[in-house]
C-alpha cells in the first residue's frame, strides 16, 4: 500500500514538474540573445548597405534591374529559345526548382540553389567558381546543359531587342552586323570557337563588354530578391525588445535553441548571419555519385582565379583592384579543407526549396537532419583507393570533415525542423517584379 502511495506521489510530482516545465517560457542567456540578434534580417536600408556588388556599378540602378528582370525571364537567351533563368530559378519555388538536378537544354550536374539573398555572398555556385553575382550569370548562359547560348548571339540580341534600355544604362552599343551569328571561346562547338578566333581583339572585347553587362543587369535584378521578415525575425524583434515572445511556439523555440547551440546542434557554426550562411565552403561529406571525385571548392577556386570575368579582369568595374578584390586575392586555394567543400546554402525560405544539397539528394528536411546526426563522410575508402590511382588528390583529402555526428533525439530533430520552417516569408517586392514583365 505504502509503495502505491509513494508511486502516486512520485508520479504526481513528476507530472507537476512536467507541467511547470511546459508552462515556463524558455529562458535565453545573453549570449543566446546576441546570437539571435545576429541572425535577424535588418531593415531594408541597412540590408542594402551589405550587398556585395563587386565590380558592378549598376547593381542598385532601377533601370538595370528592370532590364535584368526582362533578361531573367526571356527564353530567347538560349540555344533552343526555350530556356531562361526562370526555368531553373522559379519564383514560385523560392527561386530554385523542384528537380534534384536542374534541366535546361539537358540535365545539369547540380541542384539549383535558391537566389534569395544571393547578393550578400562574395562567392557563387556550389563550388564558388564565380567571384561576383554578375560573373556568375555568364556561366549558365554559355553552359551547353543550361541556356546553351553563346556570347555573340546574346550581344546581337541585346543590340536589337533591348537596344534602347541597354543604351540608356551602358551607353552606345555596336550592331555587330559584320560578324558571324554565333561565337564564343568557351564551347565544344568547333564552329563557334572558330568564329571567335577569327574575330579581331577589338570585336572580341566589344562582345565581352556587352556580355558582362548582361550579367550586371541580371545581378541588379537579383540584388532585389530579399525576403521580408519571417516569423523568426518577428519573434527575435519581440524577444530582444520585450524580453520574451510567444510568436514562435515552444517547439520552434527549442529548435532555435538547438540550432544556435555550439555543442548540441552546431548549425550556427556554418549557418550564421541574417541569411543563415557564412557563404564559406565546408565539407559535409555529401557525395556526388554522378560526378567524378575531386569536385568542390578546390576546383572552384582554381576556375575563379583564372576566370576572364573575375574581379581582376578589365570587365569588372573597379576603381582600385587592390582594395576591391580582397576576396579573390586572399582566397585559400589549396589544402585538404577545400576538397569536396561546398558552399553553405542560405536557410531562408528553406521549406520552399526541396530537394536539398548540391546534388539534390535529400527529398525533405527530415532526411537532411537525419544526415547531420550520422555525419559520416559518404566517400568510402574504396573511393580513396580508386582516386589515388586516377588523380593527384592525396589520401588525406577525403578525411577532412567539417561536421560531427550529433547526439540528437528524434524529438530534437522535430524541434529543429519546426524552427527551420519559421524562416519562410514572402519576397519583399511588388508582384510585378516576380514574373515575366510585359
Amino acid at each position: 500500500m505504502l509503495r502505491i502511495i509513494i508511486c502516486i506521489l512520485v508520479l504526481g510530482a513528476l507530472g507537476w514538474a512536467g507541467f511547470f516545465n511546459r508552462q515556463q517560457p524558455l529562458s535565453w542567456s545573453d549570449n543566446e540573445r546576441a546570437t539571435i540578434a545576429s541572425l535577424r534580417l535588418a531593415d531594408e536600408k541597412t540590408l542594402l548597405q551589405n550587398v556585395i556588388h563587386t565590380g558592378n556599378t549598376v547593381w542598385d540602378d532601377v533601370a538595370a534591374a528592370k532590364l535584368g528582370q526582362q533578361l531573367f525571364f526571356d527564353n530567347q537567351l538560349s540555344k533552343n529559345q526555350a530556356v531562361s533563368c526562370a526555368t531553373c530559378h522559379q519564383p514560385s519555388e523560392g527561386f530554385a526548382d523542384p528537380q534534384a538536378l536542374s534541366i535546361g537544354i539537358s540535365t545539369t550536374k547540380r541542384h539549383s540553389p535558391s537566389l534569395l539573398g544571393a547578393a550578400f555572398s562574395p562567392w557563387f555556385f556550389w563550388d564558388g567558381r564565380a567571384d561576383s553575382l554578375w560573373a556568375q550569370a555568364l556561366g549558365p548562359l554559355e553552359d551547353p546543359a543550361e541556356h546553351g547560348a553563346n556570347r555573340l548571339q546574346l550581344a546581337k540580341l541585346i543590340a536589337t531587342k533591348y537596344k534602347p534600355q541597354y543604351q540608356a544604362i551602358f551607353g552606345p552599343i555596336s550592331d555587330f552586323n559584320h560578324l558571324a551569328s554565333h561565337a564564343t571561346p568557351l564551347s565544344d562547338n568547333p564552329l563557334w570557337r572558330n568564329n571567335w578566333q577569327r574575330m579581331s581583339v577589338t570585336d572580341q572585347d566589344a562582345v565581352n563588354q556587352v556580355f558582362a553587362n548582361i550579367g550586371k543587369s541580371l545581378a541588379a535584378y537579383q540584388s532585389r530578391l530579399i525576403p521580408s521578415p519571417s516569423r523568426f525575425d518577428k519573434f527575435a524583434a519581440q524577444l530582444l525588445t520585450q524580453g520574451s515572445s510567444d510568436i514562435l511556439n515552444r517547439t520552434e523555440q527549442q529548435g532555435l535553441k538547438l540550432f544556435i547551440s555550439e555543442e548540441k546542434g552546431q548549425c550556427i557554426r556554418c549557418h550564421n548571419g541574417p541569411f543563415l550562411t557564412n557563404n564559406d565552403f565546408q565539407v559535409t561529406g555529401i557525395k556526388d555519385p554522378r560526378l567524378p571525385l575531386g569536385s568542390g571548392r578546390l576546383e572552384g577556386i582554381t576556375i575563379a582565379l583564372n576566370s576572364e570575368f573575375n574581379c581582376r579582369s578589365p570587365y569588372s568595374s573597379t576603381q582600385d583592384k587592390d582594395t576591391e578584390c580582397l576576396e579573390l586575392d586572399y582566397a585559400k586555394s589549396s589544402g585538404d579543407e577545400l576538397n569536396f567543400a561546398f558552399k553553405v546554402p542560405t536557410l531562408r525560405n528553406i521549406s520552399q526549396t526541396a530537394p536539398y544539397m548540391h546534388n539534390g539528394s535529400f527529398d525533405n528536411l527530415q532526411q537532411v537532419l537525419h544526415f547531420y546526426t550520422r555525419a559520416k563522410s559518404q566517400y568510402s575508402d574504396t573511393d580513396v583507393e580508386s582516386k589515388r590511382d586516377t588523380s593527384t588528390l592525396s589520401k588525406q583529402s577525403v578525411t577532412h570533415l567539417d561536421i560531427e555526428p550529433l547526439a540528437l533525439a528524434s524529438e530534437q530533430l522535430i524541434q529543429l525542423e519546426a524552427f527551420l520552417n519559421t524562416l519562410t516569408s514572402p519576397i519583399n517586392l511588388d508582384d510585378t517584379w516576380l514574373k515575366k514583365p510585359n
Binding site: 564559406d280 580582397l326 586572399y330 582566397a331 585559400k332 589544402g335 579543407e337 577532412h400
Partner: protein
C-alpha cells in the same frame, strides 16, 4: 586606446585646476562623461594583442573588433632580441584556425607593407583575415626559419 587614455587624463586635470562656478562644473562633468563614453567606444572597437617567444615579441592591433565573414587588415609590430634588418615580407607567414573545430582560416592572409622602424623592430600589415564562425580562434605568425610561431588566441562571440 592610447588616444583615449590621453583624453581622459588631460580632461580630469583641467577639471581639477578649474575654479569655475558650479553650473559650469556640472556642464563640464557632463561633457566629461560624454568624452568617457566615446573613449570607451573607441576602446571597445579596437583590439590589441601581445605575445612573445625567446626571440621575438609581437603586437597585433585590430582596428575594429572583428565580426564574421568580412575581410580585415590588422597591424603588426615585431620586436626581436636579435637585429631584424634581414627580415623581408617573404619571411613572414600567417596561419591559424579553430582548434576545437579542427580547421584552419577560411582565407590565406598575407603580410604587406613592411617597414623597418629600427634595427630591432619592424611593422607590417596582415591583410586578408577572415573568420567564418563564432568561437575560439588562434592566429600564428611565423617568422623566417625560426622554430616556434608567435601565437595569439581570442574568442569571437556575437
Amino acid at each position: 586606446m592610447f588616444l583615449s587614455r590621453i583624453i581622459v587624463t588631460t580632461f580630469s586635470r583641467s577639471v581639477k585646476n578649474s575654479n569655475y562656478k558650479y553650473d559650469i562644473k556640472l556642464f563640464l562633468s557632463m561633457l566629461s562623461s560624454l568624452l568617457l563614453l566615446t573613449s570607451f567606444n573607441l576602446q571597445a572597437k579596437e583590439l590589441f594583442f601581445e605575445t612573445s617567444n625567446d626571440q621575438f615579441s609581437l603586437e597585433l592591433t585590430a582596428p575594429e573588433s572583428p565580426s564574421l565573414n568580412k575581410i580585415y587588415r590588422w597591424k603588426a609590430v615585431l620586436k626581436g632580441s636579435q637585429p631584424l634588418s634581414q627580415i623581408s615580407l617573404s619571411d613572414i607567414t600567417i596561419s591559424g584556425g579553430m582548434l576545437a573545430h579542427g580547421h584552419g582560416l577560411p582565407t590565406q592572409p598575407k603580410a604587406l607593407n613592411l617597414t623597418h622602424n629600427n634595427d630591432r623592430q619592424i611593422s607590417f600589415d596582415i591583410q586578408g583575415l577572415k573568420f567564418q564562425m563564432w568561437g575560439n580562434w588562434h592566429l600564428q605568425v611565423h617568422v623566417a626559419d625560426t622554430q616556434a610561431p608567435l601565437i595569439i588566441e581570442f574568442n569571437l562571440s556575437p
